[in-house]
Symmetry: C2
Subunit: 166 residues, 2 copies
Amino acid sequence: MNDDPYGIRDGEIAIELPGHFDASLYFIGRIRTPWKKREDCPKNARESKAECTIELDPRWATGLTGVESCSHLVVLYWMDKSRRDLVLQVPHHYRVGRGTFALRSPARPNPIAMSVVRLLGVEGTKLKVVGLDCLDDTPLIDLKPYFASTDSAPDAVVGWHTEQKR
Amino acid sequence: MNDDPYGIRDGEIAIELPGHFDASLYFIGRIRTPWKKREDCPKNARESKAECTIELDPRWATGLTGVESCSHLVVLYWMDKSRRDLVLQVPHHYRVGRGTFALRSPARPNPIAMSVVRLLGVEGTKLKVVGLDCLDDTPLIDLKPYFASTDSAPDAVVGWHTEQKR
C-alpha cells in the first residue's frame, strides 16, 4: 500500500522529527540540468555524461577566484522535494530495507547531496561541469576544491551493494 | 590590522549576507575528537591517524542499518564557529588571497564540512572512524556511504595548491 502523499513504501520506517531546527542555510545559486522530472534523472551520476551548469548567485562571485585551477569539485546541493523522517528505506529496484545512512537517497534528515564533478570551465559565475544527476533548478549550497589526497578512496567498498550485484 | 572580532585579515573580502535563510538543518549527533581548541586540530585530515567517534542521536538509530558494511563514509558536519560572509580569504600560511570556493576553509556561506573517513566499527549509535580533523563536539549533519565509482577521483588536481608546493 502506498497511501502516503510523500510516498512511503511497505517496510519503510519513519520517525518523529525533532521539534526545532538547529542551523540555517543560504541557497547560493542554482544547478541547471537537462532533467525536469525525477524519473528523467540518470540513476546515478556515473551514468551521466551530460554537461550541466552551476549558476552561482552574483553576490558570491569573488568566491570563485582560483576555482578554475581545479580539475574536480565537490558540489553540495539541496534536495528540497524529499521527506526527512525516513530512517529505513526500500529502494525502488531492491526491495530490501536499508538504513538512510547506508544509502544516497535524497530522503534523509538533512537532504544535502554531495557530488564529485569534473570542471570543464568557468565563465563569470557559471561553471560547466560533468557528473551531476539532479533535477533542473536544484538549489546550490556549496562548492569545494576536490583534493585527491584526502577525498579519493579508490578501494572503498559498500558491502551491501557489492553483495547485491553478485 | 586585525580589529574584527571574527578575525578578518588584510586582503580578505567580506560581502553583505542575504537578508533571509532558505532552508534549515537538524543536528543529528556530535563528533568526538581529541581536539578542544582550533589550534590543536591537525592541519588536515590526512595528517591525522586519530580515532574519532561519531555519536548519532538515538532518534536516528535505525538509519545505521547496513552502514557497518561500508569501508568508508562521507561525513557532513557543521562548523558553527565560522563567519559566513568571506568571499576572498588569505590562508594563514600562504598570504595569497583565494576564493572561498577554491578553499576548504570553514569560513563559507554555508559552513558545512565534508570529510571522507575510514569506518573502523559501529557499536549501537557510535561509529569509530579515522580521517577527521574537527573540534570536539562538532555537530553532525549527515552520513553517507562512499562509493569509489562516483566519489573517487585519484587524478584530481587543485592547480593553485600544486603551484604553491613547487
